[in-house]
């Protein structure tokens, strides 16, 4: 104990030394004079905290040992398979009914969360299943968003016509970028995608005549329901709006609910696609390639094509989400596609658990909904975000809900001796 005590004193003194320049000196402004003034209180507080933490290190370690034990009782990820379709249907129905009962604001936030769910699911295929680190995922998101904005502005195409085009555009961009890079080792991919994300953003910023530069593009039309617009008055002569067609009073919340439902359908579509893909030969190949590329090559699997398919699928998902994002916002500019967006999506995948779809969905909802709900803590957002990531890496590196792979099994044969 005395040894612990003296160590704690030493560490506290060190902490004091380090915090003096940061916390101990305050700038005082008096008229035009600026002076530095000592302020010992925060330094003493920091020293006290460090001292106590150091002193209590042993009991804290024991507590963290308890945390390790909790890891052995994981959250129930394995539902009895018989209940699964039933539960899934229940969740979908609940998610579809919910917006009619909730406030307009929360439905709007939920729509944003669904966009991040789509992005997270798409990046999860690239990072989680195929093991390719993509740090410029936002680039494909931007391609989808600007694709829709420009197509609708110049060619007057509707959202539903643009959606597949945006997916194709994003996938093509992904393949063009991936083809030369995916032959290289993983680290290079991370660097190149990081650069690519920035290049796309800079292009959007500087191609003024095409993208409107930093001013962005406005007046992007919202999706329609079979040609019915959600607006007070039809934007084109002779058009019909949703409320006129059904003889309802105009209600601005209808648009919000409709956008939410569109996002929900799009998310379910992506979820279905991914769940099929990972059980198909191509999905198995993604995983095999992540585990051992040389073994794959020795068995005749073309690594470039397989990686490209994962990368292209991830990109097309981002393009899909991007087109919807542009439609929902009605206005886009390059500020929506900065590196921090890529980082958030990657954090969603890491927090949720790489390869775990339920985990990624929950993490996406948590990371988008919480900052909106806890607006008063907005200043600390990045701090908390970083802290959560660090703590996760220490205690739960496999993510909130670690992936359980869909194992393909040989039907049990009665004659097989066990």
């Amino acid at each position: 104990m005395p040894r612990h005590f003296s160590e704690a004193v030493l560490v506290a003194l060190l902490a004091g030394l380090l915090t003096v320049p940061i916390l101990g000196i305050q700038i005082q402004v008096e008229g035009i004079h600026v002076s530095l003034e000592g302020n010992p209180a925060p330094v003493l507080l920091a020293m006290a905290v460090v001292f106590l933490l150091r002193l209590l290190q042993v009991p804290l370690k024991a507590a963290s040992g308890l945390m390790h034990i909790t890891r052995r009782f994981p959250l129930p990820t394995h539902l009895p398979t018989a209940y699964r379709p039933f539960l899934l249907a229940l969740v979908i129905v609940a998610a579809a009914i919910w917006p009619f009962t909730a406030s307009r604001g929360s439905v709007d936030i939920a729509t944003l969360a669904l966009i991040y769910v789509m992005l997270g699911l798409g990046l999860n295929v690239v990072v989680g299943f195929a093991g390719l680190l993509d740090l410029g995922y936002v680039a494909f998101y931007a391609v989808g968003a600007y694709g829709y904005a420009l197509l609708s502005m110049h060619f007057g195409l509707s959202f539903w016509e643009c959606l597949p085009l945006c997916v194709i555009m994003a996938a093509t961009t992904g393949c063009l970028l991936g083809f030369p890079v995916l032959r290289l080792r993983g680290d290079y991919l991370a660097i190149v995608t990081l650069g690519f994300g920035e290049i796309i953003r800079l292009l959007l910023n500087n191609l003024d005549h095409l993208t409107g530069g930093p001013d962005g593009i406005g007046n992007i039309p919202k999706p329609t329901l079979f040609g019915l617009e959600f607006a007070r008055r039809p934007s084109i002569e002779g058009g019909t709006t949703f409320h006129e067609f059904f003889g309802l009073d105009y209600n601005g919340a209808d648009t919000v609910v409709f956008l939410y439902l569109v996002a929900l359908v799009m998310t379910l579509l992506i979820l279905y696609m991914i769940n099929r893909l990972i059980r198909m030969p191509v999905g198995r190949a993604w995983e095999a390639l992540r585990e051992d590329e040389i073994a794959c090559r020795s068995l005749g699997l073309n690594p470039t094509v397989i990686k490209l398919s994962a990368f292209g699928f991830g990109a097309s998902t981002a393009g899909f989400a991007g087109a919807f994002f542009a439609a929902r916002q009605g206005f886009i500019n390059p500020e929506s596609f900065t590196f921090i967006e890529s980082a958030i999506v990657l954090a969603i995948v890491v927090l949720g658990g790489m390869g775990s779809q339920i985990g990624v969905i929950l993490a996406a909802i948590a990371l988008t909904a919480l900052p909106e709900i806890a607006r008063q803590f907005a200043e600390y957002r990045m701090l908390i975000f970083g802290l959560v990531l660090v703590l996760m890496m220490i205690w739960r590196p496999q993510g909130l809900l670690p992936a359980t792979r869909p194992r393909l099994e040989l039907p049990v044969r009665p004659e097989a001796p066990q």
Partner: protein, 269 residues
């Protein structure tokens, strides 16, 4: 992608042509000549062994043939067609597959899944078929499982079919690796030290398995092995390497009595 099909050639010409022809193969890593002018033929349905002291360059020869390294010089012909410089996955699809000195399984996947991965080339039924689970897709998957079950039975791994490959015993992993190769219906199976780490009983089983594969599946086997009793018993022809150079080539009897081989293994008097 159309590869020239060897089946299109007149069968009479194939009969006496070696399956694999390695000519003047050399591989240089900087100042080290790891493989120096290796020259040998493997005929269809033959068991051919490459032996030599550690560091003789045997695995490098494998890597050159399989396309994992690009040889510095020389040619490699499979069925009369040059496979020199082709990427390894193309060579594998032409019917030349291998196992590895340190077993390379997909450890987190089940045994059955390992066998499905290697059928990837045959299983490509198209994206839409898979997305909508069409009957064609279901049939292809069922057939693949059927083939996997057949090979698991063959290498005696059926009872552990649904276990994770990484949890198998070492000998079982070795057998799974061979099954994973055989399911691609290769013309030439290259085994890199298949008996390493096996106990005597497992080695005898391996001996029987290799002979069975040759007899029933019309496959030629090229193997690297240190277990002399296995090599001498099983091989039709043996190539001995030392310091990257070939020092002897012939039937087991010849090799056993070759003074240079004895010198290489036992040292000079």
């Amino acid at each position: 992608m159309s590869e020239p099909s060897p089946l299109a050639l007149p069968t009479t010409a194939v009969a006496d042509r070696p399956l694999l022809q390695v000519r003047d193969l050399s591989m240089r890593f900087g100042g080290l000549l790891a493989v120096d002018n290796i020259h040998f033929d493997v005929h269809g349905n033959q068991i051919f062994a490459v032996i030599g002291p550690n560091g003789a360059g045997k695995t490098t020869v494998f890597n050159c043939i399989g396309g994992f390294y690009r040889p510095t010089s020389g040619t490699v012909l499979l069925d009369g067609h040059s496979i020199h410089g082709l990427p390894s996955h193309r060579i594998a699809r032409l019917g030349l597959v291998r196992t590895f000195q340190n077993v390379r399984l997909f450890k987190n996947m089940t045994v059955v899944e390992n066998l499905l991965i290697s059928q990837h080339a045959q299983l490509e039924t198209g994206l839409l078929h898979g997305l909508f689970k069409t009957p064609k897709y279901r049939r292809a998957e069922a057939e693949a499982l059927e083939r996997a079950a057949f090979w698991l039975e063959k290498v005696n791994l059926l009872p552990v079919a649904n276990r994770e490959a990484g949890n198998l015993a070492y000998g079982q992993q070795r057998r799974l690796e061979i099954a994973r190769c055989m399911i691609t219906q290769p013309k030439l199976l290259m085994l890199d030290e298949p008996a390493a780490g096996l106990n005597p009983q497992e080695t005898r089983d391996l001996d029987r398995l290799i002979n069975e594969l040759r007899a029933e599946n019309d496959v030629a086997v090229l193997l690297i092995e240190h277990d002399m009793s296995l090599v001498m018993g099983i091989s039709d022809e043996i190539l001995v390497m030392e310091y990257g150079r070939p020092i002897a080539n012939g039937a087991p009897e010849q090799i056993r009595n070759d003074p240079q081989v004895i010198k290489a293994y036992l040292g000079e008097e």
